[in-house]
Amino acid sequence: MIYRRRASPLHAARAAAGCAYCLALALAVLLLSAPVALGAVVIAIAGAAVGAGVSREIRRAALFALPLGVLVMAVNMLVAQGGLTVIARLGNLPVFGQTDVTLEATVYGAILGVRAIALVLCGALYTVAIDPDEVLGLFRRFSFHSALTATLATRMVPVLARDARRLAEAQRCRPGPPPSRARLMRATTAGVLDRALDVAAALEVRGYGAARRPGASGRVRRPYSRHDLAFGASAVALVGLAVGARIAGLVPFSADPSLYAPLGAGEVGVAVAIVLCALLPFADRRGIER
């Protein structure tokens, strides 16, 4: 899963706006726990993935995160003893002791699981839709070396993945029993160190060791595009909605002692607003090719 420039409004927006958008979605996931609001954020992420043309990658990330979500739900179901509606009495279990599974703990576990999955999806959306080189540019002003090291680490992932595939193929070509995992690990480590040394040498001759802060003279400010403005505004609106709804208690939710998740006009209104705020920037598809 790597960044690849696509013709989409999110890819066309500058990295700062894209980062803010992804962060705003993640913040909404963390602040809102009512099923209707959380469901709206998940719909917004899925819609953003479709709008950005990265639905395949996001679907793959969702499949990857699904076991994590189920695990979170199962653990909460077994560990949390709150709630009045018992749906199963599991008796005395090792480690957990006397265990009663309640509807409230199960629902809250599901909410936590969905939240974990949604956070993974926000991260995946950032990875595939936000240009890491532009992000490097954003952080360069604060710490060039750290930002470059982070970018380099990202870049090394596909290179090392390719190396691992090559090594696995070579081992398949070896006749006889395969070498032990420990041996393979040692060989792989040696290969990675060789790679790292080559990359370090390449960076040295590009002047990385003597890196200076970018010169200010002659700086040309890039004009804000319609997509920069749209995603920036969307991020602000999403944060405003999530924070406002949380403070004003517009989408209340409680799972202890009993479930409380009203579904009135206010809750539906916030959910619709979240989806609209998140997806409206994708409606304008002018100037998305580079």
Binding site: R4, D131, R174, P175, V199, A202
Partner: protein
């Protein structure tokens, strides 16, 4: 005025028993294009690393003498500081490209210098235009081909307008077309940018024709420093492994060697020795025809209408049918992306065809491009049986105790070959497949490998870009294009008539008589002279 000056430079890597370069003294002038020649381990790469400051700052070790680049002493200036004046390009483009888009990659060295964004943007555009990669600027580097990556890495080296550009075997990973294009591009950049260029290269026939000067190294010392023609004359007598095929052809005919196909042809023509290719057309037709199409049951390996289609992607192989006879030595050629490596993987069973069938008469051994991937043990003797080691010439007990990663490039290649040839008892190896085995090899090692392949009992199928190597070992050449077989014939039929997929001898002689190697060319020209004389 010199941009690089080495005075009595001697350098030893940490823990090394002998210096990698010894008492090297040379000067490279502004705007010169210099080719650095020498076998593997002769000190070429170390010399380049001494020029860009990696030696001694990055590698450590013991450094004596004085190296000055654009007036900066490398002992006092680290590679980062020298990068203002020196651009470097190494062998493997994969490890040199560190950013995720081409634009960011070209900008990185300038941003490291602290140049203003407007200066960076202009330099990036100019470097991209000069290298013909403007259309790639916003492409992710992870999607580029080897040739494109190498151009991008060269662009990053050039973007800062360095006075000196150092290239360490820049064409070793490229197909003949991309390699020739890169060398032509370097000549143009040398003229346009007035940058001095030093290229360390094994395939001298590719770059001597555009060079102003050639420097030969042996055992870490400079043994020849002369104009290309004089260098070749020296090489023919003192270091035949460094003489280009064209030089050996002329030397064999008693003529002074010259660099480049055009100059060699002129030399022959001026003496009336250039054979007329048309007059040999009959000769070529009279050559014994290839055996009729072999039945799958009689073959060591057969591919029957094999397709390899990627899900939601292109078809890499398009109905390839190919039969390799027992003991037959076949070269698989074609440009990057033609499907050679995929075909070998299908032959060895690493991939399953989406359509079609692959059959073999026994085990198929496959040696992939990087021999180091096969090495997992601590001693050579643990990697393969004594018999397999002896087959590849690594039977020496002194080698058996060494760590495989401490072997030279050629020895690693042979050890990896021993590993894949080491069939379990009762299993017979019917076919040996090798994927680009000569990458980064000097001529001596290529000759050794060709001799080894000729001695194997099994059929041999080698994917390669190297026509000289093909001429040395193959009985048959299969040319792939866009995943399909576009030509299949004897080496003389395939390699004599082309430009890119042709040996230098064939290019000089215009394909006359199907002569591919210098000795064949000499025999042809001498024979023609005798006929004319009679």
């Amino acid at each position: 005025m010199s941009v690089l000056s080495l005075e009595d430079v001697t350098y030893s890597y940490p823990c090394a028993a002998v210096p990698a370069i010894s008492e090297v003294t040379l000067e490279i002038g502004a705007g010169e294009l210099v080719v650095l020649a020498g076998g593997s381990g002769s000190g070429k790469s170390t010399l380049l690393r001494a020029a860009n400051g990696l030696v001694p700052h990055f590698h450590g070790g013991v450094f004596a003498g004085r190296a000055t680049v654009a007036g900066m002493d490398t002992r006092e200036h680290a590679p980062g500081a020298l990068a203002v004046a020196v651009g470097s390009l190494f062998q493997d483009p994969e490890t040199q490209v560190v950013m995720s888009t081409v634009r960011a990659e070209l900008a990185l060295p300038l941003e490291n210098r602290g140049d203003a964004p407007a200066v960076v943007a202009r330099a990036v555009e100019e470097a991209a235009l000069a290298l013909g990669i403007a259309h790639l600027l916003d492409r992710p580097t992870s999607e580029l081909s080897g040739g494109e990556l190498q151009r991008v890495a060269l662009g990053a080296a050039l973007a800062g307008r360095p006075q000196l550009i150092l290239l360490d075997e820049p064409t070793s990973q490229l197909d003949p077309v991309a390699g020739d294009e890169l060398i032509a591009l370097l000549r143009r950049l040398n003229e346009d940018f007035d940058a001095a260029i030093v290229i360390a290269e094994h395939r001298l026939e590719r770059c001597l024709g555009v060079a102003d000067r050639a420097i030969a190294m042996r055992g870490g010392r400079v043994v020849c420093d002369a104009a290309p023609g004089d260098f070749l004359a020296w090489a023919c007598d003192a270091a035949p492994e460094l003489a280009t095929p064209g030089a050996r052809l002329l030397h064999g005919l008693g003529l002074a060697p010259v660099a480049g196909v055009k100059a060699a042809r002129s030399s022959l023509r001026s003496r009336g020795l250039l054979p007329d290719a048309d007059s040999y057309a009959t000769g070529a037709a009279e050559r014994p025809r290839r055996e009729p199409r072999r039945r799958a049951e009689d073959s060591a390996l057969s591919l029957d209408r094999v397709w390899h289609e990627i899900d939601r992607g292109p078809a890499i192989l398009r109905g390839v049918s190919l039969a390799v006879g027992p003991g037959e030595r076949v070269a698989l050629m074609g440009r990057n992306g033609a499907g050679k490596s995929t075909l070998l993987r299908h032959a060895a069973g690493l991939m399953k065809p989406t359509r079609g069938k692959v059959r073999s008469a026994g085990r198929v051994a496959l040696l992939l491009q990087n021999p180091t991937d096969y090495l997992v043990h601590d001693r050579v003797a643990q990697e393969a049986s004594p018999a397999a080691l002896a087959t590849v010439g690594l039977g020496d007990p002194a080698l058996s105790a060494r760590h495989p990663r401490d072997l030279s490039g050629g020895e690693k290649q042979r050890l990896a070959l021993a590993i894949v040839l080491d069939a379990p008892p009762g299993e017979e190896t019917a076919v040996v497949c090798l994927d680009e085995p000569t990458r980064g090899m000097d001529r001596g090692r290529k000759d050794e490998l060709a001799a080894l392949l000729r001695e194997l009992d099994a059929a041999v199928l080698v994917a390669t870009h190297d026509p000289e190597f093909v001429a040395a070992f193959a009985q048959r050449v299969v040319l792939l294009g866009e995943g399909a077989v576009i030509a299949d014939g004897s080496p003389a039929e395939i390699l004599a008539g082309g430009t890119y997929f042709a040996t230098e001898t064939a290019r000089i002689l215009g394909g006359a008589g199907g002569a591919l190697r210098p000795d064949e060319g000499v025999a042809l020209v001498v024979g023609a002279g005798a006929e004319v004389g009679a």
